[in-house]
Symmetry: C2
C-alpha cells in the first residue's frame, strides 16, 4: 500500500469510530430509554477517547508529514492531506483525558438540559453548564487564540471567524434590520392564525414525510424520526438521519423544522461517498452547512411558488382546517414578521436578534462578565431590549436550544452567516436560472 | 489504583466498546435505512477490531496473571478474574484481521439474509454463508477441540457442551417425544382458529406492550421495537431492548415472541449494574439465557392461569374477534400440538424437532458432508421426516431464522437446553411456592 492509500485507510477507520459515536448520539436523542443515560454517557466518552488516540497517533503524524512533501499527489489529494494535518495538529493540543471528560460532561449536560427544559428549571441545567464552561475555557487556552478566547470556539465552526468579525457583522445587520423591522411593524400585521389551528400529530408527520420526498431527500439513504430538538446527523453519505418535532397547535414548527433539516440532509447526502473518511467527503464549515438548511427553509420554503405547489397536498391532509384557505394565505402566514420567543420558529428578519442575544451571552460568559446563575436574567433583559417581548419561562427562554448542552459555543453565529450565504447563493441562482 | 480496580476500569472500557457495537447492531435490525448497510458493516468491523485490541492487550494479560495469584481477592473477585483470564486466553487465539473479517462477513451476511428471506431466494444468501462457514471452520481450528470441530462452537454458547452430549441428549428426547407426539396426534385436534382471525397490527402492538408491563419489563431501562426477527439486546442492565413482530393473521406470533424476548430481557435487567464490565454482570451461558425466555414463553405464557389473568385485557383489545371466546379457548389454542414450519411458532413439543434439524444441518456442514447449495433439500427432507410436513419455500424453511447470518453456529441446541432447564426451574418453583 502506498502512503496515500495507507492514509485513506487510517482516516476511514477514524470515521468508522466517529460515526459509531454518532449512532449512539442519534439513539440518545431519539429512542434511548431514560435509564440508559448514565451508561450511554460513559460509552460515548470511551469512544471519544479511543478516537482521540487514533487521530493523534504518531504513525499518522509521520505519514502526514511524508505526504505533505509528496510531489506526486494531485490537487485534491494535497488538499485532503493539508486539512488532515491541520486537524492532526489541532487534535494534538488535547489530551485523551480531556477529550473523555468533555464527552462525559456533554452527555451528562444533555440529559440535564432535557430534564431542565421539561421542567422549565434552569437550576437543573446550571451546574452541568458550569462544568462544561470550565472545560470550554480550558479548551480555548489549549487551542490558543490571538485576541479573544471565544475566537478559538468560533474557529471550530467557521474556520477563521473571529469575535471581532461577528461584532462588526452584527453592527451592519442591526443598522439595516432595526429600521426595516420597524417599518414592517408599523404596517397592519398579516394574520398567521391559519397555522395555529389544531393539526393532529399523525397528519403533520405524514406531511413532513411528503415534504422530504418532494425536496429530494433519499429515504433509501436516510430516515426521519422524532426528537425534542430537531437535528440532522449522518453516519456517512448513505445514512443520513433527520428528526422533527410536532406542535399540534403550530403547523409551522414541524414544517419549517423539516425543511430546515432536509437542507442539511441534502448537503450530507450529496457529499462524495467514495471519499469516505477524507476531508473532501465532509462539510467545509458549519456556516456553509447552515446555508443549505436556511436556503431551503427560507428562500424556498417561505416562497409563494413553493406553497402554490404544496398547498393542494397540505389541504388533502387537513381538509377541515384549510377549507377556506389558499396557497397565498399560507405563504403570508409563513412570512409574518413578528418578534417571538423561539428562535427556530422565528421569521426571516427577527431571527437574527435571537442569534445576537445568544452571541452576547456567550461572549459575556467567555469574558467572565456573566455568571451561569445570571444567564436567565441577562437573556430575558436582552429579549425585552431587542425583540420587545417578555420571556415567560426558561423553557421558552435560555433553555430552548439543545446546543449548549452539546458543548457547542461559538456555533450560533453560523446560523446568521448561513442565512446570509443562502441569500447570496439564491440571488445568484435566480440570476442564472430563468424561472427558478 | 490497585490491580483489581485497574482491571475493572479496563473491563468497563471493553464493555463500553462492545455495547457501542450492540447499539449499531440494534439500529441495523430496527431502523437503519437499506443504503446504510455497507458502511454499517465496516463500522461494526472496525469496532470489533479495536475491541479485539483491547481484550488481547498485553497489559491486561499481565494484570490478570498478577491478579490470579492475588490472595487478597474475595471469592467473587477471584471468579471474575479467572473467567476473564479464560476469555483473554481464548481471545489471544484470534488475530485482529480475523476478527475484523468475521465482523464484516457477518454484517454482509445479515444484509444478504434479509434480502434472501424477503425474496425467498436461497441463492442470495448462499455465497455469504459459504464465506462465513469458511471463517467458522478456521475458527474451530484456531480455538481447538478434542473430538469434533463443532465442539468448539457449542462451547462458545454453552461452556463445555460437546457434539456428543447433544447427540445423546436428543436420542433421549426423541425416545420419549416421538411416541408422546404420536399419542397426542391420535386424539382429535384442538382448534387454534381463534388465533388466526384478523388482528390489526396496532392493537397487537398495544397488547404486547401491556404484556411487557405485566411481566415486569422495566420501560425506564428498556424499550420495544419492531424487527424482521425478534431479538433482545442490551447496552448494560439499564438499557435493554426487545423487538417483536406482528402477523395480522396469527396472534400467537407476536404474543409468544414478546413473552419470549421479555424473558431474556428480565434476565438482563436483573443483572447487577454495579458490576458493569465484569463477568459477574453477564449471563453465564446462552442455555441459561434461553431458560428464562422459554420459562416465560412456555411455563408461564402457555398456562391456563396466565390466560385467565390476561384474557380480559386481550378481549378489550379485540372485542369483535373474541366476543364468543374465553380464557380457556385461548389457553387451548396456545397449546395445540401440531407440526409446523416455523420454529418460533412451534408448540412446546414439536419445537425440539426444529432444533434437531438445525443441529443435524450444522453437524453435517462442519463434518464437510453437506454443501451450502444442498442445505434447502437437506432441510426439507428432514422436515418431512421429523415433522411430516412439506416446506413450501425457503423463506419458511432454511431461511426462517436470522442466526446463521449472525455467524451463530452451535447456538440452536441451547434452545432445547433452555427449555429443559426451564422445565426443571419451574418444577422446583412449583414445589417451593404454593399456589405459584
Amino acid at each position: 500500500m502506498n502512503n496515500y492509500e495507507e492514509y485513506k485507510t487510517q482516516l476511514a477507520r477514524i470515521s468508522d469510530l466517529s460515526y459509531a459515536g454518532a449512532v449512539l448520539g442519534w439513539d440518545q436523542e431519539t429512542y434511548m430509554p431514560a435509564g440508559g443515560a448514565p451508561l450511554r454517557s460513559r460509552q460515548l466518552s470511551t469512544l471519544a477517547g479511543i478516537n482521540h488516540d487514533l487521530v493523534t497517533a504518531e504513525s499518522l503524524g509521520k505519514l502526514l508529514e511524508e505526504l505533505e512533501k509528496d510531489a506526486t499527489l494531485d490537487k485534491k489529494q494535497k488538499g485532503n492531506v493539508l486539512q488532515t494535518l491541520k486537524d492532526y495538529r489541532k487534535a494534538k493540543k488535547y489530551t485523551r483525558e480531556f477529550v473523555e471528560e468533555m464527552s462525559l460532561t456533554v452527555s451528562e449536560s444533555f440529559n440535564a438540559w432535557h430534564e431542565a427544559k421539561k421542567k422549565s428549571d434552569w437550576k437543573i441545567f446550571a451546574p452541568k453548564l458550569k462544568k462544561l464552561l470550565e472545560l470550554k475555557r480550558k479548551e480555548c487556552e489549549m487551542l490558543g487564540y490571538k485576541e479573544h478566547p471565544y475566537d478559538a470556539l468560533l474557529d471550530q465552526h467557521e474556520p477563521g471567524l473571529t469575535t471581532k468579525d461577528v461584532e462588526e457583522l452584527f453592527i451592519e445587520v442591526r443598522k439595516s434590520l432595526v429600521p426595516f423591522v420597524k417599518s414592517i411593524s408599523a404596517k397592519p400585521l398579516h394574520s398567521n392564525a391559519v397555522l395555529h389551528q389544531h393539526f393532529p400529530k399523525d397528519k403533520q408527520w405524514d406531511f413532513s414525510i411528503h415534504l422530504l420526498n418532494v425536496l429530494g431527500f433519499n429515504f433509501e439513504n436516510g430516515r426521519q424520526d422524532l426528537s425534542v430538538h430537531p437535528f440532522t446527523t449522518n453516519f456517512g453519505a448513505t445514512d443520513v438521519r433527520v428528526t422533527t418535532r410536532v406542535d399540534e397547535h403550530n403547523l409551522s414548527d414541524c414544517v419549517t423544522g423539516t425543511i430546515h433539516e432536509c437542507g442539511h440532509a441534502l448537503y450530507e447526502q450529496g457529499l462524495p461517498e467514495a471519499d469516505y473518511g477524507l476531508p473532501s467527503s465532509e462539510a467545509v464549515s458549519l456556516g456553509i452547512h447552515e446555508s443549505q438548511s436556511r436556503l431551503w427553509e427560507n428562500n424556498v420554503g417561505r416562497s409563494l411558488e413553493f406553497w402554490k405547489g404544496q398547498f393542494p397536498e397540505l389541504k388533502k391532509m387537513f381538509p377541515e382546517q384549510l377549507k377556506n384557505s389558499s396557497a397565498e394565505e399560507i405563504f403570508s402566514a409563513m412570512n409574518v414578521v413578528q418578534p417571538s420567543l423561539i428562535r427556530i420558529n422565528g421569521d426571516e428578519l427577527t431571527y437574527h436578534f435571537h442569534i445576537m442575544v445568544r452571541f452576547e451571552v456567550e461572549k459575556a460568559l467567555f469574558e467572565n462578565k456573566l455568571e451561569v446563575e445570571n444567564i436567565p436574567a441577562f437573556w430575558n433583559e436582552r429579549y425585552k431590549n431587542y425583540l420587545g417581548i417578555d420571556v415567560p419561562n426558561d423553557a421558552e427562554g435560555c433553555l430552548q436550544d439543545v446546543h449548549w448542552s452539546h458543548g457547542s459555543f461559538g456555533y450560533f453565529p453560523t446560523y446568521s452567516l448561513g442565512s446570509f450565504y443562502a441569500a447570496q447563493f439564491f440571488a445568484k441562482a435566480k440570476g442564472e436560472i430563468p424561472n427558478l
